[in-house]
Amino acid sequence: MTTSIVLQLIVAGLSSGSIYALVGLGLMLAFKGTGIVNFAHGELVALGAYAALFFSVVLKLPYWQVFVLTLIFCGFVGVLLERTLIRPLMRAPSFTIVVATLAIGLMIKNVLRLSWQESVSTFPTPFDELSLRVGEISINPNYVWIISCSFAIMGLLALFFRKNLTGKAMQAVSQNTTAARLMGIRVSRIFSLTFAVSSAIAALAGILMGPVVGVESEMGSVILKGFVAAILGGFNSLPGCVVGGLTLGLLETFGGAYFGGTFKAVTAFVLLMFVLLVRPHGIFGRAEARRV
């Protein structure tokens, strides 16, 4: 195996890994902010991809407008979902939450499949035509775009939680809802905002994934990879989730190249079991005391 192939694998692995990190980040955000583990998150990724496909193929908008419009649209869908379906479930037992969000996902998936019957399943990006060469190695510019875009968003999010007042309010709500309410934070608004951001991040993952893997209604299954990324990071740390996603992406890509497709396909599950059994609080997380 030559260096050039190794480098190409690294770029491909980082690119799929940063998508997993994005999906995990969205899941984690919704969970930390509202206590809901959203099993419909994968379908929100698919929704983003389909929305981008619609804006791009039917309305023939340029990529940048598609990009912004999709994020806004999916953010609104997130708010709508939170206000109508998720809010009544917030205090429900975990079984109800899991099953209800699965049901929501099932409905979104079915709507997407039925409403897009055309055979077109990809949309153009401005990077399709470019060719990127580093020395003798040619790199898919879409991968570079995915990696840089993901990292930019993660950086922005980190800044948002550290510096911005609303971001701090979101953190306060996730730590202690009652205390946050007593401090004058409008908790209900923060819940909606959390879901808006979480859905927009899902949509971003969809926009980035779409042109590379193709837009189809089964895209939602990426949620499992997102879970693995987030759980690797302990389900409560932003950098942990990023490292988790990248680790998974690299392991999958290299494992697939050396040992074949089956290995690639079971990597996520094996990694998940390993982490949950050996370090259930994640690579960077600390064990939490549990109230009985």
């Binding site: 583990v37 099993f39 379906l85 009544p88 479930l89 429900a92 975990s94 079984f95 109800t96 939450i97 899991v98 099953v99 209800a100 699965l102 049901a103 929501i104 996902g105 099932l106 409905m107 998936k109 079915n110 709507v111 039925l114 299954s221 499992l224 879970f227 693995v228 759980i231 497709g261 089956t262 396909a265 079971v266 996520a268 599950f269 998940l272 079991m273 949950l276 059994l277 259930p280 009985v292």
Partner: protein, 334 residues
């Protein structure tokens, strides 16, 4: 209320059950082959629902991979009877045991997990089982599927749907009896205990790990038997049959019927197998409708269809309504 009771079941329920059984035995010859097929499918779904309900409704463990155990049962039955030439009547229980062993293997790491972590792990297991079916074409026929013949009984192949229906009915009844006895046994009580509170159960000397493992094993065994029957009923199996949609459908059966209730499992599986066939014009929207139904039931009727009967009865009888509803819900949860 009737005065007599059988094995702790009220006289009225016994009479009702016996009447239903008579109908299930006597009516089918007057219907066509399609109806026999549909009824068999409904009964297999009853077996699947009962198994899942023991794990989820009674023992409180979320599982999104019931269809994986179904797949293991289906492929094991087919492999043992076709490739190894074992008699179907040995292959089917053997498939159940193989499925139960897989349930044990999954249950073992799952012991340490709760709530949504368990949901994620079972979802992952489902994905892996799908991939393995595709990657092991020597055993499973891969994505192209494999055909699974009908068994023979006393020298006759059960090629007609009616004869196979009676076999499935018998096995379903056996399943019902097993589940019923199980839930009244100390193990069954232990399931309820760990669902209500693991900590409290432990202080009462309920062995947590053993009990959870038992729930996984039993549930996987039933799913395996159901899968084996499914394979030879349909005659052809491929990985698409055992995807996440099938698992979610089993969850819908027990949530709509009533969590933790055998009557609920039966009711949910029967109604939700037959109803989509009646409304076949909406087949395209089936997943959408099931999803919507699931949401509505979770929010409006969290104890499922079985809680509906007592509610109506209480309203009709007027006074003391709330009391009898509470009592009925308690008995429905048994």
């Amino acid at each position: 209320m009737s005065d007599f009771s059988l094995m702790g079941v009220s006289g009225r329920a016994v009479i009702f059950g016996a009447a239903l059984l008579l109908l299930a035995l006597a009516l089918p010859p007057f219907f066509g082959s399609y109806h026999h097929y549909l009824a068999s499918l409904a009964l297999i779904n009853v077996i699947m629902a009962i198994g899942l309900n023991i794990l989820t409704g009674n023992a409180g463990q979320i599982s999104l991979c019931n269809s994986s155990f179904m797949a293991i049962g289906a492929y094991a039955t087919t492999y043992l009877s076709v490739k190894l030439g074992l008699s179907y009547w040995l292959a089917l229980p053997a498939a159940g045991v193989i499925s139960a062993i897989s349930g044990f293997l999954l249950g073992f790491p799952a012991l340490r997990l709760r709530g949504f972590y368990l949901a994620v792990v079972t979802l992952g297991f489902l994905e892996v089982s799908q991939i393995l079916i595709e990657q092991l074409p020597g055993i499973t026929g891969g994505v192209r599927g494999i055909s699974s013949p009908r068994p023979a009984l006393l020298g006759h192949t059960l090629s007609s749907d009616l004869s196979f229906y009676y076999v499935i009915l018998a096995i379903t009844l056996a399943t019902l009896w097993c589940a019923y006895s199980l839930l009244r046994s100390p193990t069954g009580r232990a399931f309820e205990a760990i669902r209500s509170s693991e900590a409290a159960a432990q202080t009462l000397a309920v062995p947590l790990a053993q009990t959870k493992l038992a729930a996984f094993v039993i549930s996987a065994f039933f799913a395996g038997i159901g899968g084996g029957l499914f394979a030879s009923l349909v005659g052809f199996i491929d990985p698409l049959e055992f995807g996440v949609w099938t698992s979610v459908r089993h969850v819908v059966f027990i949530v709509v019927g009533g969590l933790g209730s055998i009557t609920g499992s039966v009711l949910g599986a029967l109604v939700l197998t037959v109803l989509p066939e009646v409304l076949r014009a909406f087949k395209e929207y089936q997943e959408f409708v099931f999803g919507g139904l699931l949401l509505v039931v979770l929010i409006v009727l969290p104890h499922g269809l079985v809680s509906l009967g007592p509610k109506i009865r209480a309203r009709l009888s007027g006074g003391g309504a709330t009391k009898s509803v509470i009592a009925a819900q308690r008995s429905a949860a048994e």
